[in-house]
């Protein structure tokens, strides 16, 4: 009973903390595939965004080539190269595409980085086991999305 109380207290605390941090994945509003407002209210950090391009759950260059990151090995050819991407898309559109590209491009292979439901046979990370149930962690946090978007906004050619 006491344990239950502690758990529920921490759940409530966790939930309010998530709210304080910004817009949860389930609450995101897309408009023509774009997300108008920052997910966190905290400006994205392009340096951290550049890191995420290369590793972690971002690993954007697995599929997209970026000339500016040419010092990193093995850029993919699955999606379009991102050179000059900020000339072609607005910040709001890039936020929408990184969060859930399927909203903009129906059927795209690109994973949805800020989505927590609607999966088929959701696993527990990369273990191959079933997800244990409960809260699903999105591939990137709201702030990480903002960081990636901030980095992408630096990729201008014009």
């Amino acid at each position: 009973m006491i344990r239950f109380a502690i758990i529920s207290a921490s759940v409530v605390f966790g939930a309010s903390l998530a709210c304080a941090e910004g817009i949860a994945p389930q609450q995101v509003q897309f408009e023509d595939g774009a997300i108008a407002a920052s997910l966190t209210g905290v400006a994205g950090d392009p340096v951290s965004g550049a890191e995420l391009m290369n590793k972690g759950s971002g690993n954007c260059i697995a599929c997209h080539a970026v000339t500016e990151l040419e010092h990193l090995a093995f850029h993919g050819e699955i999606g379009p190269p991102l050179d000059g991407v900020a000339d072609r898309w607005t910040e709001e559109e890039l936020r929408g595409i990184v969060a859930d590209a399927k909203q903009m491009f129906e059927g795209t292979m690109m994973p949805s980085f800020y989505k927590v439901s609607g999966f088929t046979r959701l696993g527990d990370d990369y273990t191959g086991d079933a997800h244990p149930g409960g809260e699903v962690t999105p591939l990137l946090t709201g702030q990480e999305i903002e960081d990636v978007v901030a980095y992408l906004m630096t990729l201008k050619e014009e």
Partner: protein, 286 residues
Amino acid sequence: MRRKDRMRNQVALGLAISALAFGASAEPDDDRLVVNGEIEMVTETAAPEHMEGVKTIYSGWRFRSDETQAFQIDDFDNPSMIWVETAQEVWETPEGAADKSCSSCHEGVESMAGIKAVYPKWSDAAGKVVTLEQQVNNCREERMEAEAWKYDGGDMTNMIALLASVSRGMPVNVAIDGPAQSTWEQGKDIYYTRFGQLEMSCANCHEDNYGNMIRADHLSQGQINGFPTYRLKNTKLNAVHARFKGCVRDTRAETFKPGSPEFVALELYVASRGNGLSVEGPSVRN
């Protein structure tokens, strides 16, 4: 519409840029595979009629580097052959309460030439589509009265490699109609289902993007005519269901189990996408 055009232009521009900037090849190479100077392998042929999205099918060998390809050209260089030799001994060794070996019924393993090419196949006795692994275990339990092997364990994979080796050069030719059809349809459904948190299907990589690089991997068509496969990456023979499992796991999904009805169905479907390619197993890949 405007947005779609913009994307299409971007993709076209993008392909041109990436070819220039990184010089990666987007196609399988033109190399010819002749094993031991005598087994001519068909590594490229017209896609079977049932395939809608692909015109030409290619063995995964064609997507590998010259260095990796070389390992498969001569059995002395193919690391798989150690385990094929092990299985050859097992073939002739009596085991189980019936004191029988494989060769007690089948004689020399050469008598099994052509078998690997047509599995998975419908079994009247089992009343379902069975894989070669299941057939081997059926023999072990029913005829030899020995214990079944682990579906994707070493003993089994070695034996499948031996059985594949005597079919090398023969065309894959699995039946997809008649009683096998519903299993084949189930496998096709699985092939096109986007699994896991990454929401990826087999088709996303191996139909829509073969030839392209995904990070350091040159995506092939995911053909399974070369299984079991020795991978330089893990330096062992890999069973086809173990490979399926790895792929599904990497989509952050709950996998199916080796030997499960789902993977049997998927194997039949994927094998049928390679109908016409040569049996290459045991092959070498990276």
